[in-house]
C-alpha cells in the first residue's frame, strides 16, 4: 500500500519519457523502444488480475491517446498482462511472493529479470507491430522489427533499473 505513490511516479515518469523523448527516437524505423511497459512489468506480485488488466489497459490507452492510435497499445498491453501472469505463474513459487514486493532487477536477480524483460518486450512488440500493420504479410519484416525493438527496450529497461538499483537489505 505504501508503495502506491512510487508506482504512480514510475507511471508518469515512464510515460513522459516514452511520449516526449522516445517517440522521436528510432533506428531506421526498424527499432523503436517502448519503455513504458516497464511500469506494467514492475507492478506488485500480489496485484489482483483484474487490476493488472485494468492498469495495463489504462496505460496503453494513455499512450494511444498521444499517438493517435486508440486501442492499439491497449491491445498490446492486454496481451502483455496475460503474458506476465503466465510467466510469473511458471517461474515464481508462492513462498517467494512473501518476501519481495515486485519483480524488479534488484529483487529477482539479473538472469531472471533479463529473461522476463526480453520475453515480455518481445510479446508486447510483436502484438503491437502485427496489429499496427493489421496484416500478416511481410511477417519476416515484422519479426525483425520486433526483435530489434525488444532488445532496444530491454537495454533501456536495464539502464533505468540500474539507475534505481537498490541493494538487497539482507
Amino acid at each position: 500500500m505504501e508503495r502506491i505513490p512510487l508506482h504512480i511516479a514510475r507511471f508518469i515518469g515512464l510515460v513522459f519519457i516514452q511520449l516526449f523523448l522516445l517517440k522521436n527516437i528510432g533506428f531506421y524505423n526498424l527499432s523503436t523502444p517502448y519503455i513504458y511497459i516497464l511500469f506494467i512489468l514492475l507492478l506488485p506480485f500480489k496485484i489482483p488480475n483484474f487490476f493488472l488488466y485494468a492498469l495495463a489497459f489504462g496505460c496503453g490507452i494513455t499512450i494511444d491517446v498521444f499517438h493517435d492510435t486508440l486501442g492499439l497499445h491497449a491491445l498490446a498491453c492486454t496481451v502483455l498482462a496475460l503474458g506476465r501472469i503466465l510467466f510469473l505463474n511458471l517461474t515464481i513459487s508462492n513462498d517467494s511472493l512473501e518476501t519481495e514486493p515486485e519483480p524488479s532487477l534488484s529483487s529477482m536477480g539479473a538472469r531472471w529479470f533479463l529473461l522476463y524483460g526480453l520475453l515480455m518486450a518481445f510479446l508486447h512488440h510483436l502484438t503491437l507491430f502485427i496489429f499496427e500493420l493489421f496484416s500478416l504479410s511481410n511477417f519476416g519484416g515484422t519479426l525483425l522489427r520486433t526483435i530489434l525493438s525488444a532488445f532496444f527496450t530491454l537495454f533501456l529497461m536495464l539502464v533505468i533499473s540500474l539507475v534505481f538499483y537498490r541493494k538487497k537489505a539482507r
Binding site: 485494468a54 489497459f57 490507452i61 486501442g71
Partner: protein, 277 residues
C-alpha cells in the same frame, strides 16, 4: 452457480484477458481508419467473391437465353450492313435514306433439326409464316450460305440445304466475277465440299480463292460460300468444274439468318414474263 463462480475465479486471467482484448480490439477497429478500412475491405472482398461465384453459375444457366439474344442481335446488325442497300448492288444512285430502300432484311432462327449425311439434306428452323418466313427465301449461316426455304408452317420452316442434289445457287469467283452454279451431290456426298459448275474454261482460278454469292438470286451479293480447293476438273465441253470447300460447317449449324429480299417478288415476276412472251 457456486461451481460457476469457482470456475471463473480459477480461470479469471484468461477470461479477463478476452474481455480486455475484445474491448481494445473494438476500440482499435472503430477509431483507426486504416484498421477499419482493411477490416471492411477484406470482408467485402470475401463477400464479393461469393457473389461472383453465384453469378458465374447463373450465367452458365442462362447461356441459352444469352445465345438467343446474341443471335437476334446479329440479325439486327446484319440489317445495318451497307450491302443490304439495293442502290449499291445495282450501281444506281446512292440513296441516303437507306431505311426505305432496304432490299434485304434478316430473320434469325434456331435450327431444330438438321441432317448432313443424306443424299438430300433438310434443315428445320423454329420460325415460320407467323414470323414472316416465306417459301423460297435464302438462308445464311454465321459463315455463309446455308440453303433455301422449302416449306413453311405457321411456326416452323424447312430449308432445302445446300447439301441437296436439287439445290443450285448462283455463285461467282471473288477475283473476276465469273459466275456459275454451285451444286452438291454429283458423286460427292462429303458435307464439306460442293462443285461450282459452268465457269468458262478461259477463267483462271487459284486454290484458296474465295467463292461468293453472285447477287443474281435470293442472296445479297458477296456473301461467302467457300474457297476453291481444286481447279482442274473438266466438266463438259467449255466449262470448268471447280471443287469448293464450303465455309459453313453444316454439322454444327445452330443459328441461321433467313434473308428477306424485298424486291425479290418483283424480280421474279418480270423474269417470268420473259418466258411467257
Amino acid at each position: 452457480m457456486r461451481n460457476l463462480w469457482i470456475y471463473i475465479s480459477k480461470h479469471n486471467a484468461v477470461i479477463l484477458f478476452f474481455i480486455f482484448f475484445a474491448s481494445s480490439f473494438i476500440l482499435l477497429i472503430n477509431n483507426n481508419s486504416f484498421q477499419r478500412a482493411s477490416t471492411w475491405n477484406s470482408s467485402n472482398e470475401w463477400v464479393a467473391s461469393q457473389y461472383q461465384k453465384v453469378q458465374n453459375l447463373k450465367d452458365y444457366l442462362r447461356l441459352r437465353a444469352i445465345n438467343d439474344s446474341l443471335a437476334s442481335e446479329n440479325g439486327r446488325l446484319l440489317n445495318l450492313i451497307p450491302q443490304r442497300d439495293s442502290s449499291e448492288t445495282n450501281g444506281l444512285t446512292k440513296v441516303l435514306d437507306t431505311v426505305s430502300h432496304q432490299q434485304y432484311s434478316y430473320y434469325t432462327a434456331k435450327v431444330v433439326n438438321n441432317s448432313v449425311r443424306q443424299k438430300n439434306n433438310y434443315i428445320t428452323i423454329d420460325k415460320g409464316s407467323l414470323q414472316g418466313i416465306k417459301k423460297g427465301m435464302g438462308v445464311l449461316g454465321p459463315n455463309g450460305v446455308v440453303g433455301i426455304v422449302l416449306n413453311v408452317s405457321p411456326k416452323f420452316a424447312t430449308i432445302q440445304s445446300l447439301l441437296h442434289s436439287e439445290t443450285r445457287i448462283s455463285a461467282s469467283l471473288a477475283s473476276n466475277q465469273a459466275f456459275g452454279s454451285l451444286v452438291w451431290g454429283a458423286g460427292n456426298f462429303n458435307s464439306s465440299y460442293a462443285i461450282l459448275q459452268d465457269i468458262p474454261n478461259h477463267i483462271k482460278t487459284k486454290v484458296g480463292e474465295k467463292v461468293i454469292t453472285s447477287g443474281y438470286s435470293l442472296f445479297p451479293a458477296g456473301i461467302p460460300i467457300g474457297t476453291v480447293s481444286e481447279t482442274g476438273m473438266k466438266g463438259g465441253d467449255n466449262f470448268l468444274n471447280i471443287k469448293v470447300k464450303l465455309a459453313t460447317n453444316f454439322a454444327t449449324l445452330s443459328y441461321v439468318h433467313v434473308v428477306n429480299n424485298a424486291s425479290g417478288k418483283e424480280q421474279e415476276t418480270i423474269e417470268l414474263s420473259n418466258k411467257t412472251e
